[in-house]
Structures are given as structure tokens and as C-alpha cells.
């Protein structure tokens, strides 16, 4: 397993946001993380990304428990997060955004040509055909193109696990499809993808497995091929669906 969470817990003061969550993601697969608002999705992502430390449990990468105490630690392990609000600079162009904070230098001078070439190769590698001019500012891009740049930025760094937080939330139908295709391509190239979404159509369109969080606990992890939408909805809303899910949902564990 590329990433393995076991019994991860996290509290903010008296509020237990994550309670003994188990999750494993392998290279080459898209794992969707679903759950209602407040289920702990964002907190879980931030724990993996090193923004929050965990209170209990372990995060293992390549089978070894790691101490991820900051975004740089996560990046060093090949974990990149594409946040919901994108984190792009509108006034910089596509290349400048992709290399922001990790610019290629030639002495003290920026090596813009090398960066542009690498950016072009990365986008070509992802079969991105929607971005025509790498030197246009990000402000002039559409929502889907911006999301594409954000994702391409994440894979530029030999990353192995890409975490996408609601990447299609603000997109139209055609652009959502493009981004979903891009996500599928990431996995096909051997990356692990953790995909967070509210939209079950999108989840079923792209995910290999679906992990449902309910009130900070992992209700179930299903193979997308065997699951139905109504099962997943039940897991999200009540934490159980038939034989699946938490046997006790009022807070006590069995």
C-alpha cells in the first residue's frame, strides 16, 4: 500500500473530529472520500497533508509509519494536495504558477525556458489539450482550465499521491468531464488519487473504491463496481446500509 492510515484520531479541544479512521490507498487507483458536511473529510486531508498533527493512530507511506509534521514533509513523501480554492495566483501565467515556490534557477536568474518546457511536457503527458498558451495569465483561464493547472502543478513534482478537494464543485458539465478524465489519467499513470466530492455521479464515474465517513468514523470502504448510489447515500446519511457500515451509530463503538 502506498498510503495506509490506521486508527487515526484527531480532536479539536473536546470535539473528536476523527475517531480511529482506517484507510488504505494503493498506487494506480482512485479512492473517493465521501461524507456529509462535518463528517471529517477536510480534517482527514489536512492530517495526511501535514497541516494538522494526528492525536492517535499512524500514517504509513510505503509500509513505514511516518511523522508528517508539515506540508514540506508531505511533499517530500510525494503527497500533493489540490485545494478547493485552487491556490493559484491570478496575475501569474500558467508556467509561473506551476513552478511557484520551486522555481528552476540558472545561477540567480530564473530559467524560464526550462520551466516552460517542463510544464509543456507535463501537460502533454497528461494529454491536456485545453490550455493553448502557457504564457497567458491564470486570470484569463476558465474554471476547468484553472483546475487543470492546479492538478498539473501537483503532479509536476514526482508526486505519488494526489489529493483533490472538491475539484469539480464549481465547474460546468463539460469541464467537470474533462477534469474527471484527467483524474482517471493520473491513476492510469500509476499515481494514487484521493478524490473528495459531494457529487455521487462524479464519484461513480471515476472512483475505484469509495470510502464513506460518518461523524468522524469510517463507515465503510466499498468497491465502486459493487456499490450502488443508494447504498452510498445511506452510508453518508446514517453511517450504515444493510449489513454494511457502523453497527452502532450513536457514538459508542462495538
Amino acid at each position: 500500500m502506498l498510503l495506509e492510515l490506521s486508527r487515526v484520531s484527531k480532536s479539536f479541544g473536546p470535539v473528536e473530529v476523527l475517531s480511529e479512521v482506517d484507510l488504505a490507498i494503493d498506487a494506480g487507483e482512485v479512492c473517493a472520500l465521501v461524507g456529509d458536511n462535518g463528517a471529517g473529510k477536510s480534517t482527514l486531508v489536512k492530517c495526511i497533508a501535514g497541516i494538522h498533527g494526528v492525536d492517535g493512530g499512524t500514517i504509513a507511506v510505503d509500509g513505514r509509519a511516518r511523522d508528517i509534521s508539515g506540508p514540506r514533509d508531505a511533499a517530500a513523501l510525494g503527497i500533493e494536495v489540490v485545494y478547493q480554492d485552487l491556490a493559484l495566483c491570478d496575475n501569474l501565467d500558467v508556467v509561473e504558477n506551476m513552478f511557484l515556490g520551486r522555481e528552476r534557477l540558472h545561477g540567480v536568474v530564473l530559467d524560464d525556458d526550462a520551466m516552460e518546457q517542463l510544464a509543456a511536457e507535463t501537460l502533454d503527458g497528461l494529454a491536456v489539450r485545453t490550455i493553448r498558451d502557457l504564457r497567458q495569465t491564470v486570470a484569463s483561464l476558465s474554471g476547468g482550465q484553472r483546475q487543470t493547472v492546479a492538478i498539473a502543478k501537483a503532479v509536476l513534482w514526482n508526486s505519488r499521491l494526489v489529493i483533490l478537494d472538491e475539484p469539480t464543485a464549481a465547474l460546468g458539465v463539460a469541464q467537470t468531464r474533462q477534469v474527471l478524465e484527467l483524474i482517471r489519467r493520473l491513476a492510469d499513470q500509476g499515481l494514487a488519487v484521493l478524490y473528495i466530492s459531494h457529487n455521487l455521479n462524479d464519484v461513480f464515474a471515476v472512483a475505484d473504491r469509495i470510502a464513506a465517513l460518518y461523524l468522524g468514523r469510517m463507515a465503510a470502504v466499498l468497491d465502486a463496481a459493487d456499490a450502488t448510489q443508494s447504498q452510498v447515500v445511506e452510508l453518508i446519511t446514517s453511517g450504515r446500509s444493510g449489513a454494511l457500515g457502523l453497527t452502532e451509530t450513536n457514538g459508542a463503538r462495538t
Binding site: 491570478d90 509561473e96 511557484l100 515556490g101 525556458d113 498558451d133 476558465s142
Partner: protein
């Protein structure tokens, strides 16, 4: 054109395809229409103003007045170049004018009252500017007080500091010949031509090597014709400038001969090259724009946001010191008004007129120089027309408002046409 491009985002990107000259021009037009006006308003303004003042007051176009323009605008242009750095990160420095006064006063006291040599005077002035910037930047960044308030307080305080350094407001004259030459001296004629040759050769070498490199790597590059046209345009502009400034401009050539490129032009040119390089070719410059565009994104990308912001204030105040030195050199004295009255507002105006945005994320050193030229031309031309200071202030204010309007409108267009 712009509409076509924007509604067809699916077109294939073609790295390596040589864009024809016509395409190049169309691309530029599309950029302008979508709100990236760049230097266009300032250049248009300069041409229009020159035509107007030249028609009304023919002496405006005399060689002597050309030299005057450089001298009058130099201090403001220096301060404006520094202000660009704080404007790009979305901050403001209202104290830059009086900071230049403080630095000039420090220099005057060391040179004239202590009799120290000029390198110490100039060094101390710039060190004072750097220290001021460090202080302002640290207060803004570490205490989180808006730069508007911090520098407004500094604006008031520095006014007092100048008075204290100058013993309640006396006038200290500058007698050091080297310092006086900064704004008062001229190059020999041949030095002007030599400098021109070196500048054009360096520019041509940079442009051509960049063109070759990008073509070699298969990246999108401008047509060779466009590159050559750019080099030719710069060569023509500089040749005309050097030729004119090398003409005799003394009213009484038998008595005293006045020819040659003013040294202050060389100083402005060198500062322009230095700060343009820092802004566009270094990691710090890139981070400066990133912080101005989206500080949160810059932080997540690992940019040392606090350090970048403090450095911007240091550069701004350091350049204010340079502006103070130039002003003191031109006046051959320092008094409590050095860097005072309208200097700061003209400097901010110059940067904004040139295309820097008060909203951050946008601005170039070239903008400061072009805007400084607009401000200098307005004041010089209206002075020649014999208009009162009152009218001059009024018109300069109106031009600033116009420039801010252009900025706001281009932002609006960017939002309207840029995204969908």
C-alpha cells in the same frame, strides 16, 4: 479577435510554431482589449502631451528643455521605482517622500557640516533608507498594522525628523562636486555615444540569444522580424536621445558650453535595468508578484511571504534615499521641504499612471519611469505656459484620477472578458 480566442479554449496549444508577425500584432491587440493595457496609456499620454505642449509653447521641444525634463523628473522617478515594489505586493508607502528628505538631510549634514567625503555621505543616506524600510516593513508584517496607517504615521514623524536633523529647519547647501554632478553634470559627447553602443549591443545580444534559445527548445517565440524591430526601435530611440542631448543647449555658448547626456539619465537607466532584472528575472521578483496576486497561494507554495514583503519595503525606502540624493544634488542644498510637499503624491501618481495597480499584483519599473515622464511633462509644460501652481496641481490630480480609472476599467474588462 479577443472574443474568438476566449470562446475557443479547446484549440490545441502549439509549442514551437512560429507565429507570424500579423498573429503577433493580433495577439497584442487581444491582450489590450482583454485589459492588459501595459504601457500603452502612459506612452499615448506622453506623445499627446508632447504634441500639445509643443504646439502651444514651442520652447517645450527645445533641447535645453529636454534636459530640464530629466532633471525635474528624476527624483520622483526614483521614488516611484521603489514604490512599484510595495504597490506590487498590494501595500502602500506614504512616507517615501519624507524618507527621501530624511536621507538627503543625513547626507547633507555628513558632507557639509562634518566635511566627510561623498562615498560616506551617499552610503549613509542609502543605509538610512534601508533602515527605514526595515523598520516600516517589520511593523507592517510582524504587527499586522495596515501599511497605510504605518506609513502615514511615518509620514508625519519623518517630517519632524527632517526638522530635527536640520536644526529646526535651516538650509544646508551641498558643496561636494561629485554629489552635485549626479543631477547637474553631463557626460562627454563621446561617452554618450559609447554608452549608447554598449547598451544597444547588450540589448540585441540578449534578445537574439533568447530568441535562439527558445527556438532551439521548440518553445513559442516571437518572429525574428519582431525581435529585430524591437532592437531597431530601441536603437533609434536612444540614438535620437543621445544626438539631441549632445547638441549645444547653452543660451550663451561662448560663455559656457552645455552639451552631453546628463549623468542623471545614466543613473535612471542603470536603476531601471537593475530593478527590472530583480523584478522579472529573479526568484524574489517572481515571489513579489505571487504575494501581490494571492498571498495565501504563495504561502502554500512555500514562498517566504513575510521576508518578501519586508524586502519590498526596504527597496522602496532605499530608492527613496536615492531620490533624496538626486533631489539634493539638483537643488545643491537640503531644506525641510526636500521630499516634502507634493513629492510623494507625484511619485505614487507616476507609478499608477505608468500602470502599477493600487490593488497589488501588477506594476513594472518601466511603468514608474513612463509615469514619471508624464508627471514631469505636465508640470514642465504648464510651467512654461505660465499657469499657476494651483492649476498644475489640479491637472496632475485629474491625470492621476484618469490613470486610476484606466486601471479600474482594465480590471473590469479582465473580469468581464477574461473568464467565463
Amino acid at each position: 479577435m479577443s472574443a474568438d480566442v476566449k470562446t475557443q479554449p479547446e484549440t490545441r496549444r502549439e509549442p514551437g510554431a512560429v507565429r507570424a508577425v500579423a498573429d503577433h500584432a493580433r495577439g497584442y491587440l487581444a491582450k489590450v482589449r482583454s485589459g492588459e493595457v501595459g504601457a500603452l496609456p502612459a506612452v499615448t499620454g506622453i506623445i499627446a502631451l508632447c504634441v500639445f505642449f509643443g504646439a502651444v509653447e514651442p520652447v517645450f521641444l527645445s533641447v535645453g528643455n529636454l534636459e530640464n525634463l530629466f532633471g525635474q523628473g528624476a527624483a520622483v522617478a526614483c521614488i516611484a521605482m521603489g514604490l512599484v515594489f510595495v504597490l506590487v505586493i498590494g501595500e502602500i508607502d506614504l512616507s517615501a517622500g519624507y524618507a527621501s528628505g530624511v536621507c538627503a538631510a543625513v547626507m547633507a549634514v555628513l558632507l557639509t557640516e562634518r566635511g566627510l567625503p561623498w562615498p560616506i555621505g551617499i552610503g549613509a543616506a542609502i543605509a538610512t533608507g534601508v533602515a527605514i524600510g526595515l523598520l516600516l516593513g517589520a511593523i507592517v508584517v510582524k504587527l499586522g498594522i495596515p501599511s497605510f496607517v504605518v506609513t502615514l504615521a511615518a509620514f508625519l514623524a519623518f517630517q519632524g525628523v527632517v526638522l530635527i536633523i536640520l536644526d529646526e529647519g535651516k538650509n544646508i547647501s551641498i558643496n561636494d562636486e561629485t554629489v552635485k554632478a549626479i543631477a547637474g553634470g553631463n557626460l562627454e559627447r563621446w561617452q554618450g555615444w559609447a554608452l549608447l553602443a554598449v547598451t544597444v549591443a547588450a540589448y540585441a545580444a540578449l534578445q537574439l540569444s533568447r530568441w535562439r534559445r527558445r527556438r532551439g527548445r521548440g518553445l513559442a517565440h516571437d518572429p525574428l522580424a519582431v525581435v529585430c524591430a524591437r532592437i531597431a526601435a530601441l536603437a533609434a530611440l536612444l540614438t535620437a536621445t543621445v544626438f539631441l542631448l549632445n547638441l549645444e543647449r547653452s543660451a550663451n555658448p561662448q560663455l559656457v558650453s552645455l552639451t552631453g547626456v546628463p549623468i542623471v539619465v545614466v543613473v535612471l537607466g542603470a536603476l531601471f535595468v537593475l530593478w527590472s532584472f530583480v523584478l522579472h528575472r529573479t526568484r524574489f521578483g517572481r515571489h513579489l508578484y505571487a504575494v501581490g496576486g494571492n498571498a495565501e497561494a504563495a504561502l502554500r507554495a512555500g514562498v517566504a511571504v513575510d521576508r518578501v514583503r519586508i524586502t519590498a519595503f526596504v527597496i522602496c525606502s532605499g530608492m527613496a534615499a536615492v531620490g533624496g540624493i538626486v533631489a539634493a544634488s539638483r537643488a545643491a542644498s537640503v531644506d525641510p521641504n526636500t521630499g516634502g510637499s507634493n513629492v510623494l503624491l507625484l511619485s505614487v501618481g507616476a507609478a499608477v499612471i505608468g500602470g502599477a495597480s493600487l490593488f497589488g499584483g501588477k506594476g513594472t519599473v518601466r511603468a514608474a519611469l513612463l509615469g514619471g515622464a508624464v508627471v514631469a511633462i505636465i508640470n514642465n509644460g504648464m510651467g512654461l505656459m505660465g499657469l499657476s501652481a494651483g492649476v498644475r496641481f489640479g491637472v496632475t490630480g485629474a491625470v492621476l484620477l484618469l490613470a486610476a480609472g484606466v486601471d479600474a476599467m482594465s480590471r473590469g474588462r479582465g473580469a468581464l472578458f477574461g473568464r467565463h
